[in-house]
């Protein structure tokens, strides 16, 4: 965990008092809605269908139990008793009152939580691997670098009014859980031939209207230079990024229009001209940040404790364990994913009571720490294996032990038409319907890893392009239709899905998905071949045929 010190806390409090003043001026009419808009967005406040929506940052997905309890409190005191974990390591509240927002922010600030730059045309909350610091084989804990970048990008005096939003994601693992290739800047921590730590820097990824996979702009930037290099990229973007058309203002368009080589040359030139402007991180600066991360005092535990051996007799436990428990870098410990995707539930929602209970479980079993991943699930990062059976029983009582992590019902979905003013179609009810269709665990197990992603409009908040199956809501003559893509993925081999044919009406979506899954079961060459791999091998044609032959 990273502990905010007096300076971090002071800054957050100063931000709260500034926002309090801005809300006051808005309510008195001194600020017009147009003026207020850019200010509130920088504090994560949207005006949505029903009310103001409030988006709170969970930097690099790490929370303490105390912080999670406070998020629960905000849900209860200022909202309707629940919150929605999103694909960007934050939590959204949908029913907040503007006049109460400064108080909610002040309460969050007490535990080192803020909503700075969760929205707006600035550098957004830096995201990272939800297993950072505990995943086996990681180069080093990427959160140290995420925190360095969090600080650098917070209230940046040059880049708070960029052409568009700007997202940075970091991974330090071979297997990319942070989806770095669909971010404006993706950073992959690795070591060069001399054993020095640095980053492969990728730019220009993103989904939305014009999806792009990020391209490598430089294979190795030394850790000490990462701030200046990122600053150089942003300066080029701030000056040359288009502002005439918001749909073309993202850095991915600039990179695409210039070509990566030309863009890279511009950045390189800017970087050279920049010289030493105090951004180089010497060893002691990096260590200063590193020193404020604390790690649990792990015990020396057996690899296979008796408790686990005994529990293995229970098939329900085993099902959950196989599905939700991942290896930890320390022997005798595991990483446990808590599914926020119960059958029939809106993906990513958690009630205040659930959040409180998870906080208690984290205290009891995970050194008080919780993680939030972009799949809209939570995780307990340091659970002793001997505690797994007890933890499982507790989670089961809370409805948080659905053994569907990475399976067909572990659906990622944006709020769609139920909350979002930009939506063309509903997302949540589609997700709910699909979780009912595939509720049978044996079937789901047989299907294996399959990611379904749903977005209610082209903005792609549900990452539909990179879903193994992607579902995109579109509107046709006032009715909800859905385009289906297959073969997308968001990991280290990230790729956009391919459209299988004409959009289908709301009522047919679940049937179509069932058809696609059945086609896969018939077409895969062995049970271990994942859905995406079958699609890769055969292309979309056989799936298309199956879906449209009878429609």
């Amino acid at each position: 965990m990273y502990a905010y010190d007096e300076l971090d806390r002071t800054l957050i409090n100063e931000r709260v008092s500034e926002f309090r003043d801005q809300v006051k001026r808005r309510l008195s009419g001194e600020l017009t809605e147009d003026e207020f808009k850019i200010l509130r967005l920088q504090n994560g406040v949207y005006l949505q269908l029903h009310a103001y929506m409030f988006r709170v940052a969970i930097p690099y997905g790490t929370l303490s139990s105390m912080q999670l309890r406070r998020l629960a409190h905000v849900a209860r005191r200022y909202d309707r008793g629940y919150g929605h974990f999103t694909t960007r390591q934050n939590i959204q509240y949908n029913w907040i009152k503007l006049a109460e927002l400064p108080d909610a922010l002040a309460e969050l600030a007490e535990v080192g939580i803020h909503a700075m730059q969760t929205s707006g045309n600035n550098m957004r909350n830096v995201t990272s691997d939800q297993w950072a610091g505990v995943a086996p084989g990681e180069v080093e804990d990427p959160r140290i670098w995420s925190e360095i970048l969090r600080q650098h990008t917070t209230l940046h005096p040059e880049f708070s009014f960029l052409p568009r939003k700007f997202k940075i994601a970091i991974t330090a693992s071979e297997h990319d859980r942070a989806a770095i290739k669909i971010h404006d800047i993706g950073l992959r921590l690795h070591k060069n031939a001399d054993g020095e730590t640095g980053f492969e820097v990728l730019v220009g990824g993103g989904l939305g209207r014009t999806p792009f996979i990020a391209k490598t702009i430089k294979p190795f930037v030394h850790g000490r230079d990462i701030l200046s290099y990122v600053e150089a990229i942003l300066r080029v973007y701030n000056q040359y990024g288009r502002r005439d058309n918001i749909y073309k203002a993202r850095i991915k368009i600039l990179v695409h229009e210039l070509g990566i080589e030309k863009f890279a040359r511009e950045v390189e030139e800017e970087w050279k001209l920049m010289g030493d402007v105090g951004l180089t991180l010497d060893h002691s600066a990096i260590e200063e940040v590193r020193s404020r991360f604390s790690y649990p005092a792990y015990e020396k535990l057996p690899h296979m404790p008796d408790e686990l051996k005994q529990a293995a007799a229970d098939p329900l436990f085993e099902r959950w364990r196989k599905n939700s428990v991942a290896p930890h870098k320390v022997q005798g410990y595991s990483i446990v994913t808590l599914s926020l995707k119960p059958v029939g539930g809106p993906p990513g929602d958690a009630t205040a009571d659930q959040m409180d209970a998870v906080a208690d479980l984290a205290d009891k079993y995970s050194f008080g720490e919780i993680r939030v991943g972009h799949e809209q699930n939570l995780a307990l990062p340091h659970v002793a294996k001997r505690d797994l059976p007890q933890l499982w029983r507790a989670l089961d009582r809370l409805g948080l032990a659905t053994p569907n992590v990475n399976l067909v019902t572990d659906i990622i979905a944006c709020p769609g038409l139920d909350y979002c003013s930009l939506a063309n179609a509903r997302s949540i009810p589609i997700a709910q319907e699909l979780t009912r269709r595939f509720a049978n665990h044996d079937t789901a197990d047989m299907i294996g890893r399959l990611h379904i992603n749903i977005s209610g409009c082209i903005n792609a908040c549900g990452h539909h392009h990179v879903g193994h199956i992607g579902i995109l809501g579109v509107e046709k003559n006032g009715e909800e239709f859905y385009q289906i893509t297959i073969g997308g993925r968001a990991d280290e081999n990230a790729q956009m899905g391919v459209l299988i044919g004409p959009a289908v009406p709301y009522a047919e979506v679940a049937d179509v998905i069932e058809d696609i899954v059945e086609a896969y079961l018939a077409l895969r060459d062995r049970p271990e071949e994942l859905f995406v791999d079958t699609v890769k091998r055969l292309g979309v044609e056989p799936f298309k045929e199956r879906v449209y032959a009878t429609r």
Binding site: E30, F161, N238
Partner: protein
Amino acid sequence: MPLVKQGRITTDLFVHVADGAELPGDGAILISAARFLEDPEAILKRAGKTGVIWPNSRAVDDLVPYLDRLAAVALVFPTFRDGRAYSQARLLRERHGYEGELRATGQILRDQFVFMSRAGFDAFEVKKDADADAFAETMKRYSVFYQPTGDGRVTALNRRMQLRHSESAGQ
């Protein structure tokens, strides 16, 4: 439009001269980049100070040869959402060593004063008198800064390292 300098509403000594209009023989003038670049040497020979309004779509490089002879550079915020001039300001101050007045013009919210001042602006054409009145208060809002800029404010990281250093020295 009130001009704020050093926290106070100040009288603007510069006269805006439109592109077609005749230049006064002396006195401080503020002219467009296009006009200035037509014949910079002639303009700089005038008695009286010269200020240039530089558009945010043009690299400041073209202005660099004249910087030490300019009394003011005005950068433009066509809307308060368009932040190109922040980069221009930092480049002028930090890379090119410009020391004259750096003025923010166009659409400016008082909530942006801190960003602007950190980027190097020291004069602000604000929309309302109330914004000018709020200047001092707004500038005091923040005491912690994460990024180094040419404004010389010590960053949080440096403060922490100094603290650590003095702690270990005192042991």
